[in-house]
Symmetry: D2
Subunit: 306 residues, 4 copies
């Protein structure tokens, strides 16, 4: 392992791998894994249960569910529908859907940068019901029970002059949803996880995470309602792949030597570079559709439509 030279990842799962490589067990962090062979879907749940665990993992206490589905980057409609169902199933465990809920979905990220446009695309694909239910009542939807969905694409600070959290706080105070779901593109540490992994967490969005590095996060602390974060890694820092390729070279060195070696090796220039799959434009579209269908299923009880 590479000592203090911590490579950034937004996936809690990848953070735990850092420890497991060293056969270190962290108190306050529980990891459980299940594998659906038929669908080739691996689901890992990382639970951070103590302040000590949170410190070691560099992220807040809570549950981090990771769905790894290698075929997610392929355009197989049936497979994507299965994953949408998985997302809906996990959301139903995190939110009490027996009572009617009002849900605000926030599509984080910059829609003008492909790798960062996952969140906006998800909100574009969602079916909104809040305004109809409030105006005409539930019966107008032909349903006995239905959750109220609303959504916003707040943009990024360079586009708006405002912190994303300011915009979302204002909208939350005004429209008073019961729960916020924030969707964002993430940075991973391994290129193998790009566009085929979905992380769902009840801790919201951490400050400094995401492709665009949100300064403030979206959390229950600042929004005063439950916040679920849903993310897909779409990029790896360019410096990371150099780092990873050399990992086993460095085993012989002590921590300080490693750090010095890497600082010399990895050009600072690389930190303004992304590594991204060649087909990122296409896969971001598939993935955002799969997530929005998962949300539609969870809250509106429907199957996918065109």
């Amino acid at each position: 392992m590479l000592g203090n030279y911590r490579i950034r990842t937004d996936l809690a799962l990848e953070e735990t791998e850092r420890f497991s490589e060293e056969n270190v067990e962290i108190r306050g962090v529980e990891v459980s894994e299940s594998y659906d062979e038929e669908k080739d879907v691996r689901t890992t749940v990382v639970k951070i249960t103590t302040e000590n665990g949170a410190h070691a993992m560099g992220r807040p206490q809570g549950s981090y569910i990771t769905i790894e589905a290698p075929n997610l980057s392929l355009p197989d409609e049936d497979y994507h529908r299965e994953i949408s169902k998985e997302i809906a199933r996990h959301l139903a465990q995190l939110i009490d859907l027996d009572k009617e809920q009002s849900v605000l979905v926030v599509g984080l990220g910059n829609s003008a940068i492909t790798a960062d446009s996952l969140g906006p695309h998800v909100v574009e694909n969602l079916r909104m019901t809040r305004h109809v239910i409030r105006e005409y009542g539930l019966k107008s939807m032909g349903e006995e029970k239905m959750h109220q969905t609303s959504g916003i694409i707040p943009g990024v600070m360079a586009q708006t002059g405002m912190e994303t959290s300011e915009i979302v706080q204002g909208v939350v105070e005004e429209t008073k949803p019961d729960v916020v779901i924030a969707v964002d593109a993430l940075a991973a540490r391994s290129t193998r996880r790009l566009n085929r992994t979905i992380q769902i967490t009840d801790t919201g969005i951490n400050p400094g995470s995401g492709v665009g590095n949100h300064r403030n996060g979206l959390t229950e602390d600042n929004l005063h309602v439950k916040v679920i974060g849903i993310g897909v890694p779409t990029v790896v820092d360019a410096a990371t792949i150099v780092h990873d390729s050399m990992a086993h070279l460095l085993d012989a060195l002590d921590e300080r030597e490693q750090k010095e070696f890497l600082e010399e090796m990895i050009s600072p220039h690389l930190h303004s570079m992304f590594v991204t799959p060649k087909d990122v434009d296409e896969t971001v579209k598939y993935l955002s559709f799969t997530i929005s269908e998962g949300l539609n299923m969870a809250f509106l009880g429907e199957e996918a439509r065109v």
Copy 2:
């Protein structure tokens, strides 16, 4: 004139023409006009000064400035810069720019419908300074005085499940701008005004106006700060052009006969149709750029860039 059968227009100027056709003068409504021959720009100011005037005009008391510039729909960069300057000049009269202001620009409309995408495009082209000034101070901008600009594209109700006014109210309460500028695509009554007319008003955005028919408006009443509305007509109701073509046919009829005649003549189907110039996709881009440059000039003191 066509009696009670009122054809919708978002331009106060067109509303006054209804009266002038009949040589009726309305108390509480003042109209003044100036014409710049060199630039071929006609500026009309309609002032509604009394409750009676507001009732007759069907819109609130305040000033409605209309810039008519026939060449606006052509891609002549120099001409557009002149119009940007005109916009900046009018804004400087409506807002006290001697003291530093915090300005929130709201881009109304549906970015997925070309004719309704003016507002979103304007906000995309704006330079935002609020976050920089708040983080690093004015000096970081290399200026002694600069206004704080921020912007938001709230989307439309079908996309968000929320009233636009709810979103903007939340953002205004959270970020506390001194003035809101709301930009919107409008419906005109005459196809000759499409894409070559800009209306600036200190009354904000009226309920029911715009291409997309905002249910609630954005006004000082609901936002509790000054609201300037800027609009460009990009569509005419399809029913209107039928109506206009037949106007002089109808002169012989009394009001009730006219109404009956028109109701029979104009298929209800037409009301879901737009009339729009063939080149609307291109001109909406030019126009939104011209308006955003006008705002940049007014608040950032700059000339146009790429």
Copy 3:
């Protein structure tokens, strides 16, 4: 009927209605109609069989199949799949698919103008096989028989400096397809037909037709291979709706009086205006997907995918 004052339509079906209004039968023009009540789809076949018929109809001899499906403008995935099957079925009657064919699909129109972007969108949605079959053989596709599909989006003259027919002729000569399918957005005479009508014809694309008015057409005459035209009306000339609204007013006048009356009534300005449904941006996407799925089914034997 309105005498010589001929309103433009790209639909042969609408041309025949001109005559049927007058109870005139045209020799050399056969019209047959069928209606599927369950699906609410009306199919009309107009056959122009003589030079006389061609002259009266103002278009070349051949078959013009019109599918009218009122629900086409709604986002009902199952309904659209039914229409895709209808398209595939008609193509199978126009092209001998028992032998392997090489098919070039040409997406006509200007992708920067929503109402004219149907053709480009269709080609974007198509699955191409020609390059795979030529490189790796049929077996690589896992099929015993499969047609070779290729496609091009030639752009419009203002974008390319070339006649569309020059580009397509060059590509046809170089790649030698057996049949060309040209897809285009059309102008209709009735707003009720917009976005819910598909015309398929074995006469190709006529000169002067389409939203963008192609100067030269794409026909067997200039391409030297069979040309099938597929079109959907997305606009109506603004002048037309005025004309239609007044049609029965004019019954009392003779032809010359009608013409004079209309010329005075319809502002020349209107001829640079479109009438288009408010949701044209969304429906053009649905429709292009439906047509491309019809082509995929006809040539690749597949069902729709995401």
Copy 4:
């Protein structure tokens, strides 16, 4: 240097650096460099003059002009105009503009993949004159002499089912231009060159080059007219940055050892990954505008417009 383990670059300049690192001089390759300090623009001309030089360099005989302009990725309108002028100046040396020329500009690449969309964007920004001059004569342009410009965006093989070279050959045979200018996004070896380097060459486009790896090139050999290639590197192979970071580590090893070492080190997975700057979406727009303005200046004698 890294022996036979050749890292791909589309820049001739980078290929020469491979030799200069080793202080090897290649017969048949001449390199000359000039630097404009005021504009901070470095221009390098690599001339491959013999078959031996072509073999060593892995690309055909001819001239390769490289403009390196560090500020190209910034939105400084004046700076971009200077670079447009540089491009126009170099083109005037490669093409005899004293006589009237007919120029076909080909925008290579996949417009749906941001990093590969440079070519299509350039053609979108160009002013076309061929159709106007052919229809109305030179006088209609208000000029005594003007070159005929036309352009095409052929798409990529997966979108069209055709080799790009087939499409361009067909169009060239049909429209008979005097010279073809092919614009393409390139792969570089150094991330420092991304989006700030322009290569102009009289050898056309080499087979296997470009972000999308064109199988056949566009050369005088297959088009039978002069072909100028213009390219900008927008991506680096992900494997390359690992390779470069380790370069000096490897100095101690012999060629075979290096190769083995690298093959083990660089995951095959990396070869489907791009490294690209975070702001690639925005800079590709600036750059394509700069190149199209360079072409407009060269052939139409104009300054930039909106």
